[in-house]
């Protein structure tokens, strides 16, 4: 409870948005149906993006939730991104006027063809959306049988796996153990910080999928670990040579001047934004009582939010990078150079 803070909790007061993505046929609708049937997912509004003249999947979901918005006839990451923004705005207004139930979270199911990055950026682009929503997490589903082949041949499938906070292997009952093991290894190589789970008939614990991100400014260490995953304990991620995905965590012992940090990020995004698949972490900024939460996808970063206090004794800045071909040393050197100059 924000007692006598005099200000508001910028994380707690925003509606969490979960993105469920995954290649065609990976079982997104099945998982979504199973999730919505659970009490933990009550009061969820759903946006479904379907590609094609006639939407089908939303009919399957509508049976269990009345708050469904369908974005069809295009892919949400490209031609329909404006529609997604509009849908999120409309949903909030409909909620406010009572035309829509008082939903407590939004789940967006993308088409299998969607590049998740533009979708993740959507709520950063429009200030009014950023006021009302926060990206809670990206859930990427990978077909237990077809997944390895899709990752080998399709760059979007790789990107979907690389930027995920959670990876869910589906259709495990149709795959043999050796195939699943191999897929698991490949996913860990692409994205060593995401937690991975295996779903059976779309069933997975809601807690694994929801409440992934930081949901309040007063947090425990456990929340940071849940959000940043293995990055907390891992200095170097393995390099996924097959797809040129590089994952690493940078730690900084000294607090940043705000200007130094902002300039380093600006330089990085201006030179290699397209290859900066995802950045997230906590940053110690001079004169701030708590860490500043950083979240970025390619060229765009969410408006930073300062937490009420550091969750543990370790006040070092930590930044997780998932890149396409940008090495750890390159980014570390950039930060070092700018800090030295500033």
């Amino acid at each position: 409870m924000a007692v006598s803070s005099g200000g508001r909790d910028l994380l707690r007061s925003r509606i969490p948005l979960t993105v469920i993505t995954g290649f065609l046929g990976s079982g997104k609708t099945t998982l979504l149906n199973a999730l919505l049937a659970r009490p933990e997912a009550a009061n969820t509004a759903v946006i479904i993006n379907e590609y094609g003249e006639v939407g089908v999947d939303h009919d399957l979901v509508q049976n269990i939730t009345e708050s469904v918005t369908l974005l069809d006839n295009g892919c949400v990451c490209c031609v329909l991104r404006g529609d997604l923004e509009q849908a999120l705005r409309d949903m909030f207004l409909a909620r406010r006027s009572g035309e829509m139930a008082s939903f407590e979270r939004v789940i967006l199911e993308t088409t299998g063809l969607a590049d998740p990055a533009p979708v993740m950026q959507t709520i950063s682009i429009d200030p009014s959306l950023a006021e009302h929503y926060r990206l809670d997490g990206v859930i990427t589903l990978v077909d237990g049988v077809q997944g390895a082949a899709q990752l080998a041949t399709d760059a979007i499938a790789v990107k979907q796996a690389a930027v995920a906070d959670r990876l869910v292997i589906t259709k495990s009952d149709l795959a043999d153990q050796a195939t699943l093991d191999k897929l698991m290894q490949e996913l860990k190589a692409i994205n060593p910080i995401a937690r991975i789970a295996v779903a059976l008939n779309g069933e997975i614990e809601p807690a694994f999928l929801l409440s992934v991100g930081l949901d309040r400014s007063k947090i425990e260490q456990e929340a940071v670990e849940r959000w940043l995953g293995a990055a907390q304990t891992q200095e170097h991620g393995p390099h996924d040579h097959a797809h040129d995905i590089v994952t690493f965590t940078l730690w900084f012992d000294q607090p940043f001047k705000r200007a130094s940090f902002e300039r380093a990020i600006e330089l990085l995004t201006s030179l290699r934004g397209a290859d900066l698949l995802r950045v997230k972490g906590l940053v110690d900024v001079e004169d701030e009582a708590g860490p500043v939460v950083i979240q970025g996808v390619q060229h765009l970063f969410h408006p930073p939010v300062t937490l009420a206090a550091w969750p543990g004794a370790d006040r070092r800045s930590r930044l997780v990078f998932i890149t396409r071909g940008i090495q750890r040393e390159t980014v570390a050197n950039l930060f070092a150079a700018i800090s030295a100059l500033n």
Binding site: G6, S13, E66, V68, T69, D72, A94, R95, A101
Partner: protein
């Protein structure tokens, strides 16, 4: 756009609309859940948290509720009024002293004035004194402000206060209660020209086709804070909002006046300064059903130069189409007033208000030029409510951050947690 929505659910008064508040509990006060605009919290000598609320109308006077557990509130005492033509409406608490306002239906009736009670034992409020403000032209006291244990600031009539127009019967009055057994009037102020014998002409007029003064030129909320003990921030219905110099309580002087009437329909209710921001919020009160007196707003004023208040905006209101015909009144009324007492929550950045059927709403004033709505709670219609919709009359936030909102007709007290 291609987006298709399936949002068939209608905005029924039975629906609860909620965002960033968590509903913890409700108490209908044993069937007497119609409450006025007096609400404050006592930390009793035995450690209990007692919320005191004034009733909208007879037969009940005031009720004390143990709100230590907001999920399980318990009535500890509920008192009666002597007859149906008096209402208490307003109260405040300082330590273990409760001050209650009494206003009668017609002039010349009793009891009209204020009473002080010792509430050290909440179950047994003990009358300390009755300060009579009845008279041939007086209905007594409508609203009061009592936060320092020394002075009561109130909107009141008096035996010697004869208004030129009966609608102007309550002036701003200061009562010295340093000896609670013997309250004495310390001073008063009224809009020039409203009292019989005034040299000034009556402020009643027609301007731009609008009749000014229809609702009366009367004091409503009369707030004084320790940050500026020499200032009173007063809502004076159709006369607007006033900042008064009360360094000499016997002779308050106007520093500035701001009004939106005309072109709006007046009924200025509250003037709430946010000292660290150089801001003042001014509320209207809507007094008609179905929003026929719309718009009734909360205005944001820049008072860095107190002699020259500048309106810089209004709080964004709930959608008119949704609420205007939802039932009962829709529009601004009371705010949580940052009571300078240990049991109240205080913020100069966040403001929480009651908007009748528009529910309880919270706003972030970090950017005063662009206030943002950050939370709302509009419960479904209370059982037996004659308005057919919630009618939140007042709101108070305690030092734990628990929000208490009270319904005008039937719903009693709602306890909320702030999720922002």
């Amino acid at each position: 756009m291609n987006a298709k929505t399936n949002l068939a659910r209608g905005a029924s008064p039975a629906d609860t609309l909620i965002w960033n508040f968590k509903h913890l509990g409700q108490h209908e006060l044993n069937g007497f859940g119609g409450l006025g605009e007096g609400i404050n919290l006592q930390l009793a000598p035995d450690g209990r948290r007692i919320l005191w609320v004034a009733h909208e109308s007879a037969p009940k006077n005031f009720t004390g509720i143990d709100v230590g557990d907001p999920r399980n509130m318990k009535v500890v005492v509920q008192t009666e009024l002597p007859h149906k033509d008096v209402r208490s409406n307003s109260l405040d608490v300082v330590g273990n002293t409760l001050c209650v306002a009494y206003q009668t239906t017609n002039v010349g009736m009793k009891p009209a004035g204020i009473e002080l009670y010792d509430i050290s034992v909440p179950e047994k409020p003990k009358l300390i004194s009755h300060f009579d403000r009845s008279g041939p032209y007086s209905r007594g006291v409508h609203a009061l402000w009592f936060v320092d244990g020394e002075y009561v600031h109130m909107s009141s009539g008096a035996a010697d206060f004869q208004p030129r127009d009966a609608r102007d019967d309550q002036c701003y009055m200061i009562v010295d209660v340093r000896n609670p057994s013997k309250p004495v009037e310390a001073g008063r102020w009224w809009a020039p020209g409203t009292r019989e014998g005034d040299a000034d002409p009556s402020p009643r007029r027609i301007e731009g086709g609008c009749e000014v003064g229809v609702n009366g030129f009367r004091a409503h909320n009369t707030n004084v804070f320790p940050e500026r003990p020499d200032r009173a921030y007063v809502g004076y219905l159709d006369y607007g909002a006033l900042i008064l110099d009360i360094s000499d309580k016997s002779a308050p002087k106007v520093i500035s006046r701001w009004t939106n009437c005309p072109p709006n329909t007046g009924f200025t209710h509250t003037a709430l300064p946010l000292f660290s921001r150089g801001l003042m919020l001014v509320t209207d009160e809507t007094i008609h059903d179905n929003a026929i007196d719309w718009p009734k707003l909360v205005w944001v004023l820049d008072i860095r130069v107190e002699s020259s208040p500048l309106c810089i905006g209004t709080l964004p209101m709930p959608p008119f189409d949704t609420f205007a015909k939802r039932g009962g009144r829709f529009g601004a009324h009371n705010l949580h007033e940052n009571h300078p007492t240990p049991t109240a929550w205080r913020s100069d950045n966040i403001v929480i208000g009651s908007f009748f059927n528009g529910g309880v709403r919270a706003y972030d004033l970090s950017n005063p030029y662009q206030p943002q709505e950050i939370a709302y709670f509009v419960p479904g219609a209370p059982k037996m409510s004659r308005a057919g919709a919630i009618q939140f009359n007042d709101v108070f936030v305690d030092d734990r951050g628990v929000v208490f909102a009270i319904d005008r007709f039937a719903g009693g007290v709602y306890a909320l947690e702030m999720n922002f």
